[in-house]
Amino acid sequence: MLREFTCIMCPQGCDISVEFEGATITSITGNKCAKGEAYVTQEIENPMRNIATSALVDGGDLPLASVRLTDVIPKDRIFDVMAEIRTVELSAPVHEGDIAIHDVLGLGVDVIVTKDVDAA
């Protein structure tokens, strides 16, 4: 099977052409680095993404703190994780690096804060 990918690993956004059978890549062209091959392999097997969103903060000078995941999760679990993040409310002050949710939905990744929010 032949498929074209746009690599999302960096802003270069390489156009990668891949031939594969099952999960085995038989030829790959267009990627400028090894990350491209790793990305395509992952896309064929089980697409994974990180997400960035916000979590509520109680008593902060902003109502929200930006959060992201410590690592990628399966693409089809994105909206489950979003729903889970919506259930938490952090207490100000929060700091960059704070863990908002440990091992979210048992996926083996944490939701971490990416911004300081001071107490109001």
Partner: protein, 412 residues
């Protein structure tokens, strides 16, 4: 009136990077003037990740990227006056500013760094016909409401313009439960990066329609629908292609305009190619001692290049402060018809220089040549070049002549 060696206007990524680098180069007396309550500029609301791969070798969220610079500036004890608006910059380097706390202020600056960034093009600027209901936002305003104020701007969304911020907002609003009907782009190609088409639109099955734009806005109090029309290659709507989309929100991601009012007050000349200040290889404008870098100079594709450019600016500004002037840059830099946004506009030929530009339309298998007289100083072949991507080419002083203008030729 107070003397300050280096006054930096804007505490966003460009201003912070310039300030830190100036301090590292031995300039002690620095002051950042920032309009918002805290430094970091637009990065406060850019909560997505993908920043920092070039500058730090890792992917960071906007707030985290900014925090690295804010903390370093704090550690270096660089003063930053926030909630402060600069009202005027004069050619003899006086800066007038005001804030509620300090009232009117006047500074006499040894050097001035213009780092005001840019603002968004609005509905008025692109003259979309129709009524004037609520629910029409620029992408950055919608982003601020959602990411800073916890206010969802709408539920059924049409996005006009395929700039990176528009695509990022398409994903953001989808994650927050909105239905994004589509992204419409008047040009026949996406104006943002291919990776954002992939990870912001394709990942969420949001359709991207090229050569289409909004030709009517309908609704009285709140937006009720928009009309989209196909456009031909002469950028004219094709009659009969109108299609009405019911929606409560229209997000505009139709370009950024460098915020140069202070630049022109200071008497700096405009570069017609970038519409920003004409600068030389030291990022000095045509007014001695006034420098510009970052998105106020030309809109960048990547944040990392803003930081790097501001750090390069600091070299020139520090040298100006120590030596009182910079060497003349008498060689013009020009591009051919496929080149846009070329900067700097003048070089000396005696120093290393980074030339930045974009191509005017998507190109395959093109050749870029930087030429002085009959000499090709640098040649680069590119399998693919997109207007979304800024091209930067570094030239070494040893490769340059001091007599001939520099021409950037893109051929395909």
């Amino acid at each position: 009136m107070k003397h300050v060696d280096a006054v930096i206007i804007g505490g966003g990524p460009a201003g912070l990077a310039a300030a830190i680098e100036l301090r590292k180069k031995g300039i002690d007396d620095i002051l950042i003037l920032e309009r918002e309550k805290k430094p970091s500029g637009i990065l406060r609301q850019c909560i997505h990740d993908g920043f920092g791969l070039t500058r730090f070798g890792e992917t960071l969220s906007g707030p985290k990227y900014a925090a690295r610079f804010v903390r370093e500036a704090e550690a270096l004890q660089i003063p930053c006056l926030t909630d402060t608006t600069v009202l005027e910059v004069t050619p003899d380097r006086h800066v007038y500013a005001s804030s509620s706390e300090h009232g009117m202020m006047e500074f006499e600056a040894g050097a001035i760094v213009l780092a005001m960034g840019c603002r968004e093009r609005t509905r008025g600027a692109i003259r979309i016909p129709g009524t004037r209901p609520a629910g029409v936002y620029t992408a950055g305003v919608a982003q601020a409401y959602i990411n800073l104020k916890n206010k969802m701007v709408g539920r059924k969304v049409v996005i006009l313009g395929s700039g990176d911020i528009g695509m990022i907002m398409a994903r953001r609003m989808t994650l927050e439960g909105a239905e994004v009907l589509g992204v419409f782009e008047v040009q026949p190609y996406a104006s943002g990066l291919p990776r954002n088409v992939e990870q912001c639109l394709n990942d969420y099955n949001i359709p991207l329609s090229l050569s289409h734009t909004v030709t009517d806005i309908r609704g009285t109090d709140r937006l009720e629908s928009v009309v989209i029309s196909a456009f031909d290659e002469h950028m004219q709507p094709i009659p009969g292609t109108e299609k009405e989309y019911e929606c409560d929100t229209l997000i505009l991601s139709v370009g950024l305009i460098p915020e140069n009012e202070l630049t022109w007050m200071a008497g700096a000349e405009k570069d017609p190619g970038t519409s920003g200040a004409a600068v030389d290889e030291n990022y000095q404008t045509t007014v001695p001692g006034i420098f510009a870098a970052g998105n106020v100079l030309h809109v960048h594709d990547l944040l990392d290049f803003v930081s790097l450019e501001a750090e390069a600016l600091a070299d020139g500004a520090a040298r100006f402060l120590k030596e009182g002037s910079l060497p003349a840059c008498n060689l013009a830099v020009r591009g051919n018809e496929l080149v846009s946004g070329l900067t700097p506009s003048r070089i000396s030929g005696e120093d290393d220089v980074t030339v930045s530009f974009r191509v005017r339309r998507p190109l395959r298998n093109c050749t870029i040549e930087l030429v002085q007289g009959d000499t090709v100083v640098k040649r680069r072949r590119m399998p693919k070049a997109l207007p979304a991507e800024m091209i930067q080419i570094k030239l070494k002083a040893s490769d340059l002549s001091q007599t001939d203008d520099l021409e950037v030729k893109v051929t395909c």
